[in-house]
Each structure stands twice: as C-alpha cells, then as structure tokens.
C-alpha cells in the first residue's frame, strides 16, 4: 500500500482491462485483483477509474456484460470480450508493442564516449 498510486492514461487502462477480461469472463472486483496480481502489485486500480472504464467499454460494444452467480454464490456482473473488443484489444496491443519497441530503441541507443 505504500507504493505510489499510478495514474495511468485512460487508453492504457482500457487496454489492460480488455486484456484481463480476455483471460476469461470476470466481475469488477476480480478484474481489479487480477490486474494487481499479474502486475505484481504495480497496478492498483481505483474503483473510481475501473467502473467508469468498464461501463465505457461496454457502451462502445467492446465488452458485454451478464449477471451470473459468482464463486461466492452471490449474483455479480460478469464482463466478457466481444469480437469487436478483441479486435480493438489486438490493435491496441500491437500499437503498444510498437511504441515500446520504438521507445526501447531510442533508450538503448549507445551513448558516444566523450
């Protein structure tokens, strides 16, 4: 909890959420938990960002939601990826990788000896 809260760009959060949901349908709490686990506690998504993102993605038709019984026996809203959502995610991941490669290339460029 002592680590700095990371505010990341909306688009990045959307991409990460899509990716997590792509691993399997899950509800909001589980998405936040998984994001935290997979990133080794790097990303701690605040509910005030997560839920708007989920609803935005749903409105755009990238996610679809369904009310189902959760592991605890309670009804929860499960999000899953649509075909359109998968395309969107793939496009964003592709862009992200290109961005990282490009940034990496620039950063790894050998510095000239003085």
């Amino acid at each position: 909890m002592s680590e700095p809260q990371i505010e990341f760009l909306r688009g990045t959060l959307d991409m990460l959420v899509l990716k997590v949901v792509a691993l399997g349908p899950s509800h909001g709490y589980a998405i936040a938990q998984r994001l935290q686990q997979i990133s080794k506690d790097f990303f701690q998504v605040h509910q005030g960002s997560l839920y708007p993102a989920l609803h935005r993605l749903e409105d755009r038709g990238w996610l679809q939601a369904e009310w189902k019984e959760s592991e605890t026996g309670r009804e929860a809203k499960f999000y899953s990826l649509t075909r359109k959502g998968r395309k969107q995610m793939e496009a964003e991941v592709h862009n992200w990788e290109r961005l990282c490669d490009a940034v990496g290339l620039v950063l790894r460029a050998p510095e000239k000896e003085p």
């Binding site: 909001g28 709490y29 509910q47 839920y51 993102a53 409105d59 809203k77």
Partner: protein, 880 residues
C-alpha cells in the same frame, strides 16, 4: 409509452450499478477479513479504499453520458457534413418537406382556432344553443318567439341560466358623423350567462329588461376606443341610436363578442328597447330569438333533452296554433358556431395531409436513391466494424437533421401562409380572428416533422443497413447494390404518389367544375351595371308607414331625376345579399288542412320599377305600377315556383292571399296580379323557392336597399345616392354600397376559398408526384446504363430504348391510377355535399384527371428516357 420505458430502464440501470458496486465492496471486505482483520476494521479499510460509493457512481454516470453524447454529436456532425456535400439533394428534400409541413401547419392553425380551441367563454363546454325544429316541414333550426323563450327559461330545471339574443344594425348619432353600429339585442341575462365582467360600469340587470325601463346601452371596447376616444367619462352620458337617447351604463372588453363572433365594434341593448325586435315581444308566433343556455353541472345532455321534450309538448298543448309540430333541440354552442364549416375544413386538412404523405414518399425515394449510391461507403464502414444499429442510427440522424431543417423552414412558410390565408378567408368563417401560429400549432408542426422524418427515414435506413456487404464492396462505384426489393419499394412509392395525387386532383377537379357551374348559374336577375346601397330610417323619427313611403318616394324621385340614374328602384330584402324573409301565408277560400302545416314563401317588398331594373321577366299578368298605393286594392306578384307549388293546375291570377306581415297588416287580402320569373334569393347554389312580391307603397318598411342600373361608374352612382339621401335627411348614413356583381361574388367566398386551396394542394401533389416519377425513372435509367450500352451495341434502335423506358413509366403510372381511381371515388364522396351540379362520381372529371396524370407522368419519364437513348455504347461499356 417510449418515455415511460426509458424512465424505468434508467432507474433499473441505477439499481444494477448499485448492486455491482456493492458486490465489489463486499468482496473486498471478505478479502480483508480473510487476511485476518476484524470485521469492523475490514469494513473501514474497504470503504476508505473504495472512496465513497456515491462518488464512484457519479463517475460511472459521467462516462456513460460522455460516450453517448459523444456518439450523438459525432453522428450529427457527420450528418451535417454529408448533407452539405450534397446541396442539391438537401435543398430538394428540405424544400419538399417545408412545403408539406408549412401547408399542414397553416391549415391546422385554422382548424385549431375554429374547431378545436374552446370558445373564449368561461366553462364554454356547458354552453348550448337551444333551438326549435319542425321536422314535418323540413325546418331544421330556428330561433324562438320571446313568449316561448320566457316560458322555457322559467319552466326548465336543467339550465342554470338562459339568454336570448338577436342582432341588427342601428344608426348611431353621438359625436361626429352618423354611423351604423352592430347592435346586439339581448335579454338582460346574457352577460351573467357568459360570466363576463365589464371593463367599466355595469352589465344589464333584470330591471333593464322590463317594459318601461329607461333605455340603456353597453358599449364594446373597440367602439368605445374608436368612436369615443376611450373617454372614461362616457358612462352615464347619453348616445343616440336611431335618434333615440340611450344611457351608457358599461363597457365590455374587446375579447367578449357575442353573438357577433367576428365583428369587433358593437353595442348591446336590452331587447325591450329595440325598435324592431322590441315590437315583436308580445307575439307568441315567430322564430327570431337565438337562445343560449348554460347547462347545470352534472346534468347530462340526455337529461336536458328529455326536459326540453317535455317543455315542447307543454307548449304544443297550451298554444297549439303557434307550436304544433315544433320540437326543441340543443347543440353545443361551439358546434353551432362552426357547424357548416367543419366538414370543409376537415376535407382541407385531409387534403393537405395527403400532400405531406406524397412529400414524404418523395423524400423516401430520394433517400433510397442516395442510400444506394452510398452503399459502398456504408459497406466500408460496416467492414471496419460499425454495427448495423450504428449505421441505422447514423442514417436516421441524417433524416432527423433533414426533418428538423424542413420543419423549421415549414414553420416559416406557415407563418407566411397563415397571413395569406387570413386575407383569403371568407369573413363569414367564425372565429376567424383567432387564427394564428401559436405554441400549440408550433408543437403540432414539430411533431409533424418528427413523424414525417420517421416515415421517410426508417425504410431507407433499414434497407441500407441490410444491403449485402459482399456485393456492395465487390461492385464498385455508386450505381449498384440495388436489390430488386428496393426497386420494388421505390416503384411502389412512386405508384403510391400517383394514387394519392389522383385522389387530390379528382377532389379539386370536382370542386372546380362545381364552382364553374355555380359561377355560370343564372340567379334569375341581371347583375351587370347594378349598384346597391342600404338606407335605414331611424324608427323613432320615422315612426309611421306613411313616413316610410314618403321617404322612399322622395328619394327615388330625386335619384331618378339625375341623368343616367333613371333605372332605379327600392327593395327589401335584396336577393342573396340580404338573405330572406320567409313567411307563412294563406290562400283565401283554400285554408290549410291542419294547424302547423303552414304554406311558406319568401316575401319581398319592391317599388314598381324593381322587376324592370333587375331584369326579372313577367310571365303573365302585370307588374306593379304607380297606382298600387295604400288606398288602392292590395295586390301581389308571385314567382313561377310559387305558382307551380301552391296553385297546381290552376290560374293563380285573381286568387287572393293573406299573410301577417308587416305587423298591423295582418289578414289583409292581396290579389295576385302577375307571375314573374324565378330568382335565386337565398344563395346561388340553392334552387329558387316560392316567392311573393308586394308593392313597397302597400307594405312599406323603415329602410331597404336602393338599386340603380346605370352605365356610370360605381363611385359616381354611390356619390349620387349619398348626395340625394343627405338632401332628404342630413343625418342618414348610406351603407353597404356595392356592385351587384361584387356582392354576388362575395356570396361565393367560402366556395372560392376551398376550391382555391384544394386546387393549390392538388397542384402541389401533381408536381411532387411528377418529381417522384422522374426520380424513379432516371434512377432506373442510370442503373441500366451498362445494359443499354450493350443493347445499343447489339443493334437496338434508339426508338426501342425509348419505348422500353416509357413502358416502365407507363406501367408505374397505370399501377398508380389503378390504385388511385377507387380511392378517388371513395374520397370524392367526402366532398359530395360541397358540390353543385356535379356528381361526386363525375366521369368527365375522373377521365380528365386520369389523362392529365398519365400525360404528366409520361413527360416526367420521357426526360430520363431521352437521356437513355443518347447512351454511347462505348462510354457505357467502358464505364466500370
């Protein structure tokens, strides 16, 4: 029901959001507990981290709105951009829609003001007109005698208040020039009946209605402002009506008008004080008082009618001579006032609705054409992942923008149209001054444009979204992607337009033919070069019949002495312009069989030269002459229709008739000395009824119409009449100066109005339908450019191509006519009652309309067909 659904869904959305977030919170708490915290601590930490349920909810709501607003705005921006890129299409669609909406809104503003808006009286739904009918004589609705009214008012228990009214004109001499004022002659209860308060002073009390009460008058606000400079001290002062002083006791606001709903300057006087109707109070016979009653709250119309039946039976039993066969009926005041214009207005509204329908069909056709040429664009968008809904929404957005533009333009047209209509409306139309484009009418226009956008937008949008992705993409360009269903839809729309246009054209054609017949019907008298003017004598100064005769003799002598004005006469009433005086009469030696089965004829009092000046032919016997004066034996001249009706197979000459008019002359025997030609005295559209004429000298009146046949100018004749009248009495106003042709024309104002409007709508329909055909055929031609190129290359002649395209046009046209003719036949029955001398199933009209439509449609199809013949096979084949 849509909005209810939305409200519920919204609250459901909210509940689900709450549930979702709560689930999250509880999971979090459970996780904290599992990690070893106490329940309280777990809850506290979870809440802290969560950061407030409401705040999260708020943020979710915000994003939801943002995305939705964003898509809508994007759709609108896109729609505007695409419309701007096709200015021709946009202009035609907006203009077509504006015409439809504008015409509908204008007509609706009239319908709303006249038919729908409640009358401008308090609780106007309780107000009823109560009248008498006599079914056995075909008398459908007349007023009351004062005595019968008084008995009804006293004996019924269903009306909380009843009042009687009549109207005529009196000469007012107060300040400045003598003038004629519209006078409502009323029983004192009138103002309390309507619940109206005066602007100043008081209303009538029942004492004002008693015989011997001092004469009092209430002024209308407009008259008070116009003629008295809004003098606040007018109350208590005296004005003179027909040379008799009346004390002004009150001023009514301009908003109150009764019974003259369209007149703005008027006065009210108690019935008992009126020189004309006051004298009729003691007589039980007669039907002249218009009675209005306010139904008590909670009393049904059926209850009231039952009570009226009982009163009617009592009247017939107690006073059989005057009341046998008469019954009492009631009708809502509004219905009574608008009665005869209702059906005409509804027909116009229906007609203009059809125009809008045609306009919508046209725009739908245009949109289909566009959707087809945009099939590729749409296919690309869909391939890129746009959902079907999204495409439909975006296309609907485009039509909504079109609809909005058309609606706004239409409202402007309506403002302009209402002004034009007001100038055109016949003054006899009730409530004409209430017609305006107000909020309600504006709401109607907006609703109409919304409905219209849905009507013309939905089909093309669905079609576009359903188009086959593969074919659209494969076939390039803007020409293809047309499925045969879509062509069928377009053809159906075009044929439907023709059918609708046919309905309108037939209705308009029938009215036009009927109007032409009406214009050419002979009224039975000459109208050319005849000028009329009304003179009314104040009865308190000219109180005896001798004075009336003396006045008319002197005036006629003076006018006839003028060069060019020899052909002049006096008559009361004048046919068509003055209405009729329908009187019962008896034939001496041949009494009517039973009480109440009276013989009736229209009564006219004329000076000897009347027949000659009016060109009414003498059929047998003689006209009146200078010797038919009061001292000589009484005589009468009857019309041919009267001779046929009441003297079948007899010679009426020498027979004697009696009738009870004017008052005092009751029972005098008049010998029939001549028979003259028939005259349409009520209206041009009404067949001439029985008429009897008496010499003015033997049946004088305190006023009448002076008619002069002269080749001089109307203004010259009018000035001469005015001059001579003032020579006889400097206080007499001359009113109603008009050429008889103009007066006759004015009597047709209502017919002219509806014929003109229906004709206008039919013309609009014809043009729109022609555009529709043109659109479909040109589209079909451009789509088949390739095919035609091949045909030409294979040796088809230009004539063959032309024939091929024209055949398509004719097929559409005949399909339209086949649907249109039965519809037109059914619809023309609706205008049947407005027709004169034309059957609603008039074959000539039907044929002409069908031929005109076919010709116009063929021409509309010929233009693209000619283009098709010019197809260069090389270009056509290379093209794509």
């Amino acid at each position: 029901m849509r909005w209810i659904d939305r409200v519920f869904r919204k609250s459901r959305d909210e509940k689900l959001l709450e549930k979702e977030l709560r689930f999250h919170l509880e999971q979090h708490i459970a996780a904290n507990v599992a990690a070893g915290m106490s329940l309280e601590e777990a809850r506290r930490r979870a809440n802290l981290e969560f950061g407030g349920l409401e705040r999260v909810k708020e943020e979710v709501r915000d994003t939801r709105w943002e995305t939705r607003l964003d898509t809508i705005l994007r759709d609108f921006r896109y729609a505007l951009r695409t419309l701007r890129k096709a200015p021709g299409f946009t202009a035609i669609a907006v203009l077509t829609l504006a015409l439809g909406i504008g015409a509908n809104t204008a007509i609706f503003s009239v319908v709303y003001a006249v038919l729908l808006k409640p009358l401008p009286y308090a609780n106007s739904g309780q107000l009823f007109n109560v009248f008498q009918v006599k079914p056995q004589d075909g008398i459908t609705g007349t007023g009351w005698s004062y005595l019968n009214f008084a008995l009804l008012r006293e004996q019924n228990t269903v009306f909380s208040e009843m009042a009687g009214a009549q109207k005529h004109q009196l000469t007012m001499t107060a300040r400045g020039e003598p003038s004629v004022v519209n006078t409502s002659v009323v029983t004192p209860e009138l103002f309390s009946l309507f619940g109206e308060k005066p602007l100043a002073g008081r209303i009538f009390f029942s004492e004002d209605g008693k015989p011997g009460a001092p004469p009092v008058v209430i002024l209308g606000e407009n008259l008070w402002r116009g003629s008295f400079g809004a003098d606040p001290k007018i109350i208590g002062s005296s004005i003179s009506l027909d040379k008799r002083p009346y004390t002004v006791i009150g001023i009514m606001p301009a908003t109150f008008r009764f019974p003259l709903l369209t007149e703005s300057e008027q006065v009210w006087i108690p019935l008992v004080q009126d020189p004309l109707f006051g004298s009729m109070i003691p007589r039980r016979a007669g039907h002249w008082l218009q009675v209005t009653g306010r139904l008590k709250p909670g009393v049904s119309m059926a209850q009231a009618q039952a009570e009226l039946d009982a009163v009617g039976a009592r009247l017939a039993k107690e006073f059989p001579a005057e009341n046998t066969g008469w019954m009492i009926r009631m009708v809502p005041l509004q219905q009574m006032i608008v009665g005869n214009v209702k059906s005409a207005l509804l027909v116009l509204l229906g007609a203009v609705g059809l125009v809008l329908l045609i306009a919508c069909a046209n725009i739908a056709n245009l949109l289909l054409t566009r959707a087809t040429s945009r099939a590729r664009e749409i296919a690309v968008r869909m391939a890129l992942g746009a959902g079907r809904n999204r495409i439909v929404r975006q296309l609907l957005c485009e039509t909504a923008v079109l609809g909005l533009l058309g609606g706004v333009a239409g409202i402007f047209l309506a403002y302009w149209g209402v002004q034009g209509l007001s100038a055109l409306l016949p003054q006899s139309l009730p409530l004409v001054n209430a017609i305006r484009v107000d909020n309600f009418v504006l709401g109607f226009a907006l609703l109409l444009s919304a409905i219209a956008s849905c009507a013309f937008g939905l089909a093309p949008a669905l079609f576009a979204a359903n188009s086959n992705l593969q074919t659209s993409l494969r076939e390039g360009g803007g020409r293809s992607g047309e499925s045969s269903t879509r062509l069928r839809t377009r053809s159906f729309l075009a044929a439907g337009e023709i059918a609708l246009a046919m309905v309108l054209l037939v209705a308009a054609g029938l009215l036009l033919r009927s109007f032409a017949k009406l214009m050419s019907v002979s009224p039975g008298f000459d109208v050319q070069h005849i000028v009329k003017a009304d003179v009314s004598l104040p009865r308190f100064q000219y109180s005896t019949p001798q004075q009336w005769t003396a006045f008319s003799d002197e005036l006629l002598a003076r006018i006839q002495a003028q060069p060019g004005l020899q052909d002049s006469a006096v008559a009361v009433p004048l046919p068509i312009t003055d209405g009729r005086v329908n009187l019962a009469f008896d034939i001496v030696g041949n009494p009517v069989s039973s009480a109440g089965a009276a013989r009736l004829a229209d009564y006219v009092s004329v000076s000897p030269d009347y027949f000659r000046v009016m060109g009414i032919p003498l059929l047998t016997g003689r006209f009146f002459n200078q010797h038919d004066v009061m001292a000589a034996p009484r005589v009468s001249v009857i019309s041919q229709a009267m001779a046929r009706l009441y003297f079948p197979n007899q010679d009426p000459l020498g027979k004697r008739i009696t009738f009870g008019f004017p008052p005092g002359g009751t029972g005098v025997e008049r010998e029939i000395v001549g028979i003259v030609g028939d005259v349409r005295d009520v209206a041009l559209s009404e067949a001439p009824g029985p008429m009897m004429y008496v010499p003015f000298a033997q049946a004088p009146f305190w006023g009448g119409a002076v008619i002069v046949k002269s080749t001089l100018s109307t203004s010259g004749v009018a000035a001469a009449i005015r001059h001579e009248v003032l020579q006889v009495d400097k206080d007499l106003p001359v009113t109603g100066v008009a050429e008889l042709t103009g007066a006759l024309d004015a009597s047709l104002a209502e017919q002219r109005f509806r014929t003109f409007l229906l004709g206008l709508f039919a013309a609009m329909a014809l043009i729109l339908a022609a555009i529709g055909i043109f659109g479909v055929i040109s589209y079909s031609v451009s789509r088949r450019t390739h095919e035609m190129g091949i045909r030409v290359a294979l040796g088809a002649s230009r004539g063959a191509i032309l024939r091929m395209v024209l055949r398509e046009t004719l097929l559409l046209t005949f399909a339209g006519l086949a649907i249109g003719i039965p519809c037109a036949l059914a619809a023309s029955r609706l205008v049947g009652h407005m027709l004169f001398g034309v059957s609603p199933h008039d074959l000539v009209t039907l044929t002409i309309v069908a031929v005109v439509l076919a010709a116009v449609a063929t021409f509309a199809g010929y233009l693209p067909a000619r283009r098709a013949t010019r197809v260069d096979p090389l270009v056509a084949l290379r093209y794509e």
